[in-house]
């Protein structure tokens, strides 16, 4: 082999780029070379830097240089978490192929692909296919599917950081593992933004010891400017919650000063509210202001995205729905409303403006309570340090193991040893043992342990030739509908009586509305007419004001990474540096906190005891995010109730939590250390929470993924009514009859890892045990405690039995009436 730079493929590709006035970036060049010499690997580059062309052109060059080693059909499978990107990518790739003069076809295949195109593809696959993890699993559930992949050269996983850390990542691992067994010549490449654990990310993507791997980083550094939008004055007590109107006067000038602004909010409900607030403050923006979130109809969203690209919009209020996606060239400014909750998400959002490599990204942060200004300072510090969160890969997701085994059985059928090998060589299932695998086989063939006699259960059948297959067409069909790891809440389509979809809304929300009542969706005020066939029929409402829907979920906790910077900045806020505008602004409030109570230093832990008319309050400030606070609060309440039986009301935010009781709380200098001790931590946590109830909630997703619950989909013609059951019901059945069920075990594991964040919790207590505990008493709320007090998310904590709770709640209810 001659020099790579002399090769035909390299010449053609660089000529193509030169004709466009471009020269390859060093990281692209490196990717091409490494791919040429048989490497797999991972490219780390921000969007807008030509990351697509690093891997795509590598495959192209290799083909031009050695066409005889490539067979007809698929050469490159491009897996991306987003459907919306595929079309534009396919267009860009097709342009290269056509200009160079190759006879390749580049095609998209995903849930939106028309039936007819799919059948064509199944006859002859394109050379390059852009797809999603779910569609790849669907392909694996087709008859005779391995012929499509036998000659595959490369699988590329785009936006790998978005997949790593969730179950879609595990889906990706599984499909790659299967491709690797079908096509031993396969190379695996990932493309990712910067995350805290790049080495691990590569290891998860390419866990095969015989593979040569390399990590290639684009050197380009994106410039980022962060501005805090300050209110006119700082209140002595911070306001809390949905601060709105008062800040809108600050937002309008920013919108006017830029070409196109994306305004990020944290929840869909908030985006609807802010759309109304901004329109009210600046009615002249009507027509140039749009709203974009995950519950708005896909067509509408595409239309909005196109309008952004064409520069027709001044501003778009959005949620994480626009965190990723196509390049929006006209966007030159970002506004983040409220906390972004994490460094990576913040940087990602900021990066949506000033997309080109030489441009600067600009982001304005609008705080929703004054303490969030400290967060701005913390974010600035984190960005300066280039410190970004890690994404931790999931392991031993038995629900996906079960789903995958059935997928294989629906497709070509599988032999136990082969399937075990495919699972075992992934990172996610590297610790899978034979017993667990055999449990999986038993589960899909017999339904469960023989003891429970699952008669007439023949989901997967073991044939005489040792191959596991699904024979029933109906079971195959139900399974294909269920493939994937995204479990949506029961959603209803929202449609005008006169036709035209607007979006989707949770059943939970709409069930509280009566006909003729109004609500907001996609920025429009709508009147509910009636509900039929999973569809909400509406007409335009004349009402000026209406309620914004609350969609469940979407309440992300602060990452531990950001918490760390936050604690440092809180201490710094007592003596802000000259550059720290937002800290200086906050100073009166901080000083107030310090004189009435205390500002905890980074190595201190603050506890406040406050007595008011309402009762006795304990406030603690771990700065560990809402989820962890919920657990710590329950734990402290439990430990206190060991001293004196008490019932508490609990409130929390991302900074701290409150325990409220009508009785004096037995907490003082003598026992505070014991209450915050790390000894017996997990034992006490387990005793303090209703683990079974929490597991029952996490079981919902597991049940859907493993096929125990059939999801009804909005607009689906067949609703499988006779198979409807709630996951809670199945959870109870399994707890009673199959207590050793691995899916139950998984539910509990997920509770500990994800709900309770066990690792973070332990680290927090480790930190607290090394901190100096500061106990302060006050007779009124302090600046730190006030926002928690106001927060409406309340949980009651109690160790009473169900019977007693029922009795007491009844009494309360009677009193209230």
């Amino acid at each position: 082999m001659g020099k790579f730079e002399d090769s035909e493929g390299f010449k053609l590709v660089t000529q193509y780029l030169a004709a466009q006035g471009r020269t390859p970036f060093p990281f692209q060049l490196k990717t091409w070379k490494k791919y040429h010499t048989g490497y797999s690997g991972m490219v780390i580059a921000p969007t807008g830097f030509g990351k697509t062309f690093s891997v795509f052109l590598a495959v192209l060059i290799r083909y031009i240089n050695a066409p005889e080693t490539h067979k007809r059909g698929l050469k490159l499978v491009w897996i991306s978490p987003l459907r919306s990107l595929a079309k534009d990518l396919a267009k860009a790739m097709t342009e290269v192929v056509e200009t160079i003069g190759l006879d390749w076809t580049v095609q998209v295949r995903n849930g939106d692909t028309p039936q007819q195109i799919r059948r064509q593809q199944e006859r002859l696959m394109p050379d390059v296919m852009l797809t999603t993890p779910e569609t790849m699993h669907l392909l694996c559930s087709q008859k005779n599917n391995s012929r499509w992949f036998k000659h595959l050269k490369c699988v590329a996983v785009d936006e790998w950081h978005e997949l790593l850390g969730n179950k879609r990542g595990v889906l990706t691992e599984l499909v790659i593992s299967r491709l690797q067994t079908l096509a031993p010549q396969l190379k695996i490449w990932g493309i990712t933004a910067t995350i805290g654990n790049l080495d691990e990310a590569l290891k998860v993507l390419v866990p095969y010891p015989e593979f040569k791997t390399v990590k290639i980083t684009a050197q380009a550094k994106k410039k980022l400017k962060i501005h805090a939008v300050l209110p006119d004055e700082v209140d002595v007590l911070p306001w809390s919650g949905h601060l709105g109107a008062s800040m809108s006067s600050k937002i309008i000038p920013i919108i006017n000063a830029h070409r196109t602004t994306l305004i990020f909010t944290n929840t869909r409900g908030q985006s609807e509210l802010w759309y109304q607030i901004i329109l009210e403050a600046a009615p002249e923006l009507a027509g140039q202001l749009a709203i974009h979130h995950g519950s708005i109809d896909l067509k509408l969203r595409h239309w909005i995205e196109d309008s952004i690209v064409q520069g027709h919009l001044k501003a778009v209020i959005c949620t994480s729905s626009l965190d990723l996606g196509v390049d929006f060239k006209p966007v030159d400014c970002i506004i983040q409303i409220g906390s972004a909750k994490g460094v990576a998400r913040f940087v990602q959002r900021a990066g949506r403006s000033g997309h080109a490599p030489h441009e600067t990204s600009k982001i304005y942060v609008v705080p929703t309570h004054s303490l969030e200004l400290i967060e701005v300072a913390a974010l600035k510090a984190a960005v300066k340090d280039r410190a970004v969160e890690a994404r931790h890969p999931l392991v031993l997701c038995y629900d996906l193991m079960v789903q995958f085994l059935i997928t294989l059985a629906v497709g070509e059928g599988f032999k136990a040893e082969e399937a075990y090998h495919i699972l075992k060589q992934t990172h996610a299932f590297s610790f899978l043992n034979k017993d667990e695998f055999n449990w999986g086989l038993q589960f899909i063939t017999q339904g469960g342990t023989a003891l429970q006699a699952y008669e007439e259960f023949h989901k997967v059948v073991l044939n005489d030739d040792g191959v596991y297959r699904v024979q029933s067409r109906r079971i195959s069909m139900l399974h294909r509908m269920n493939i994937g790891a995204i479990v949506s809440d029961a959603m209803l389509n929202v449609k005008y009586l006169s036709g035209g979809y607007i979006g989707m809304i949770e059943e939970f929300f709409i069930s509280k509305l009566k006909p003729k009542s109004s609500f907001i969706l996609a920025g429009r005020v709508l009147e509910l007419v009636h509900i039929k066939d999973m569809t909400v029929y509406v007409k335009r409402s004349k009402a000026k004001k209406a309620i914004a829907p609350s969609w469940m979920g979407g309440r992300l906790p602060l990452t531990s990474h950001l918490s760390h910077f936050l604690r440092i900045k809180l201490e710094a806020a007592l003596a802000p540096g000259i550059q720290e505008r937002e800290l200086k602004f906050l100073h009166p409030l901080i000083a107030n906190q310090n004189s009435h109570s205390h500002i905890p230093k980074a190595n201190e832990f603050l506890v406040e005891l406050i007595g008011t008319k309402e009762g006795y309050h304990v406030f603690m400030y771990p700065f560990e995010g809402r989820l962890v606070h919920e657990v710590i609060a329950a734990l402290i309440a439990y430990r206190l109730s060991q001293i004196t039986p008490l019932t508490f009301t609990i409130a929390m935010n991302d900074y701290g939590f409150e325990l409220l009781s009508d009785q004096p709380i037995p907490l003082d200098e003598s026992n505070i250390e014991a209450l915050l001790s790390k000894n017996q931590l997990m034992e006490d946590v387990t005793a303090s929470i209703n683990a079974s109830e929490m597991a029952s909630r996490t079981f919902r997703d597991i049940a859907v993924i493993a096929g125990l619950v059939v999801q009804s989909r909005p607009g689906a013609r067949q609703n499988n009514k006779s198979l409807q059951s709630s996951s809670g019901l199945i959870f109870r059945v399994l707890e009673e009859y199959e207590p050793q069920h691995l899916l139950l075990k998984q539910a509990y594991t997920e509770v500990f890892n994800q709900q309770l964040e066990e690792v973070r919790l332990q680290a927090a207590f480790e930190r607290i045990s090394k901190s100096k505990i500061i106990l302060r008493r006050a007779s009124a709320f302090t600046p730190l405690s006030f926002p928690i007090k106001v927060d409406s998310l309340r949980h009651a904590m109690s160790n009473e039995s169900l019977e007693k709770r029922v009795a007491r709640i009844r009494k309360q209810a009677l009193k209230d009436n």
Partner: protein
């Protein structure tokens, strides 16, 4: 299995509500229940969703205990005795029924009972198509909107009624219940493998909720 009772007046008759999902009509020695959904677990299994057979067994054991306790001469099921097609669960139920030769079983047909007419013939069940009228009572699967001026009293099922108890903070407990008004009674679903509907407007009703160890008026 503890059985707790709550007597209520329905029209001219007195019924005993139990915390075991049946009402007992002492004067007529009749057990009244609804939504047994026999065959549901097997239906799920056939479609690839493994639900243990013991779920049905447990339901029937509960019915055994109730029959032993009250010694009724008649069972009235106000609909949805069966869930879907003929399957192994139904065969089991057939065998179970044959141990109660002297017990009369009346079924007022529900929406789930439609498809399996043949089945009932072998089961020695008295089938009532729409509604069963007796002295003072109208038994029907899904009760119509009942006017105050009717002279009869409707006893129905179908809705799987439940109540959501809300306490201070965010405490929420769902419990099954009976819904009673001066003109009607809606029974909870008998089978434990059923969901609860807590979204029924309940202003018109008095709810009687129950747990394993109690039954009480809300």
């Amino acid at each position: 299995m503890p059985i707790y009772l709550e007597p209520i007046q329905c029209n001219t008759e007195q019924l005993l509500l139990t915390n075991q999902r049946v009402a007992y009509w002492k004067a007529q020695k009749t057990l009244i229940l609804s939504d047994v959904h026999i065959g549901k677990t097997a239906h799920f299994r056939k479609q690839g969703i493994p639900i243990p057979f013991k779920v049905l067994l447990r339901d029937l054991e509960r019915l055994d205990a109730l029959i032993q306790h009250f010694k009724p001469e008649r069972l009235i099921v106000v609909g949805d005795l069966f869930h879907a097609e003929f399957n192994q669960d139904v065969v089991f139920f057939q065998k179970w029924m044959s141990t109660y030769q002297s017990l009369e079983l009346v079924l007022v047909k529900g929406n789930h009972d439609g498809s399996a007419v043949k089945l009932y013939e072998n089961l020695n069940i008295k089938i009532v198509e729409n509604q069963l009228e007796t002295t003072g009572f109208t038994f029907v699967h899904d009760s119509p909107v009942v006017q105050d001026n009717v002279s009869t009293f409707y006893i129905s099922g179908h809705t799987h009624p439940g109540v959501l108890l809300k306490g201070k903070g965010k405490q929420r407990i769902k419990l099954p219940c009976y819904q009673w008004s001066t003109r009607q009674l809606v029974l909870p679903a008998f089978s434990l493998f059923t969901g609860l509907n807590t979204k029924i407007p309940s202003a018109a009703f008095k709810n009687y909720a129950f747990t394993a160890d109690s039954i009480f008026e809300m």
